[in-house]
Amino acid sequence: MRNGETSPSHPWFRPGLAILFAVCWILSAIHPVDMGVWLLENVLTLQAVLWVWFTRRLLPLSDLSYFLIAAFLLMHEVGAHYTYELVPIGFWIKPWFGLVRNDWDRIVHFAFGFLLVVPCYESLRRFFNGPPWLVWLAPSILIAGMSAFYEIAEAYANLVLAPYTAAAYLSLQGDPFDSQNDMAMAVAGSMLAMTIAALAQRRGTLSWQA
């Protein structure tokens, strides 16, 4: 992507996405299972929305990227509404894969890597230039860095807010390697997405400005 060019956007796409997201966000705020957890989880959503709003001219993304960000945030809102370890989808898939815990949080960590590596790639591409392997690896590094930061924030929130909500917020569910597994999911998701994009680019089915 050469300085500041993005693929043309449909005029109704971004406002439509914003309205759809706002409606779903309000639905998640109605009678959440635990209001404290909902508020805590929405700190992340607030940060993401502020970032998207304030970089809309400085670092405009493609429609695809905005869609992926909204999709990820809504997956996160599902977790915030039910609290992550009580999300119904997590219970449905338990018998299919023989899981011992509600793995919705793992799925969302994977989605964080798989979906958000695309806006990371687009943002980074404005500044970053180098050999192809590094161009495809660098967005995944950003994802891993953010994922590690999230795990640290989660753990310290747990220390500060221990008696009240944070046990649910942390959602360890008895897994001693929770933080490593979470980060591994995000890294795997981002690397998978970048591998697919790199292969599609090479075969010419994708003309992502690389």
């Binding site: 980074l124 500044f127 970053f128 230039n129 180098g130 590094l134 660098a138 590094i141 950003l142 891993a144 860095g145 953010m146 994922s147 590690a148 930061f149 795990e151 640290i152 989660e154 753990a155 310290y156 747990n158 220390l159 001693p176 390697f177 933080s179 490593q180 597994n181 980060m183 591994a184 890294v187």
Partner: protein, 205 residues
């Protein structure tokens, strides 16, 4: 940012440094407390050696950059020699400050962020065009990326080889060990990056 052409490091300096690295690694291997753990700890060392050697022509570091890497190597090899949970310096600290665990591993995580940020900054400067802040953020992300990969590797080692893995993991009863380790690396990196930013601001004015 004006394009700065770094002063090339003479090949003789690099060869001398490579010899020093070999000596340090050999000294660490002799009478290592636990050879299996030593090998696990030195897998990242091999990757680092290969990376530094391959990139010594295409993206060379400055003398300072190579010396910082060397300082970190020495700290890591000490940990590998004794295994991190039993490094005498950490035991001494625990005695002095009444810690309940050997904090040498935390110190090395902190040192990783502090010492490796500048070499990374030098190395990736050529990839970031006309940008200051994104480069700093990228360096921070790379430090965190290494931290995360190292923690994942530690957990994998525990699953594959429970005995050596437990020593390699060096959790020592801290349930938030992985988060604390990564936080130390992040803090070290933030300090190093602040120094770089201050030094560059002073040079430009």
């Amino acid at each position: 940012m004006a394009s700065v052409t770094p002063v090339p490091v003479p090949r003789r300096f690099l060869k001398g440094l490579a010899l020093f690295w070999l000596l340090v690694i050999a000294a660490s291997f002799l009478h290592a407390a636990n050879p299996v753990v030593w090998i696990l700890e030195n897998l990242p060392t091999i990757i680092a050696c290969l990376w530094l050697w391959i990139t010594s022509k295409s993206r060379p570091l400055s003398r300072t950059g190579y010396l910082l890497c060397t300082a970190f190597l020495v700290l890591h090899e000490i940990g590998a020699h004794y295994t991190y949970g039993r490094v005498p310096a950490g035991a001494w600290m625990a005695l002095q400050f009444h810690f309940t665990r050997n904090y040498y591993d935390r110190c090395v995580h902190f040192a990783f962020g502090l010492l490796i940020s500048y070499p990374l900054w030098e190395s990736f400067r050529r990839n970031m065009r006309n940008s200051v802040l994104p480069l700093y953020l990228l360096v921070l992300a790379i430090v965190m990326w290494f931290g995360a990969l190292y923690e994942i590797a530690e957990a994998l080692a525990l699953m594959l080889a429970p005995d050596a893995g437990a020593v390699f993991l060096a959790q020592q009863g801290d349930p938030f060990d992985s988060q604390n380790d990564m936080a130390c690396a992040m803090l070290g990196s933030l300090i190093a990056l602040s120094f770089i930013a201050l030094a560059r601001m002073r040079r430009q004015t």
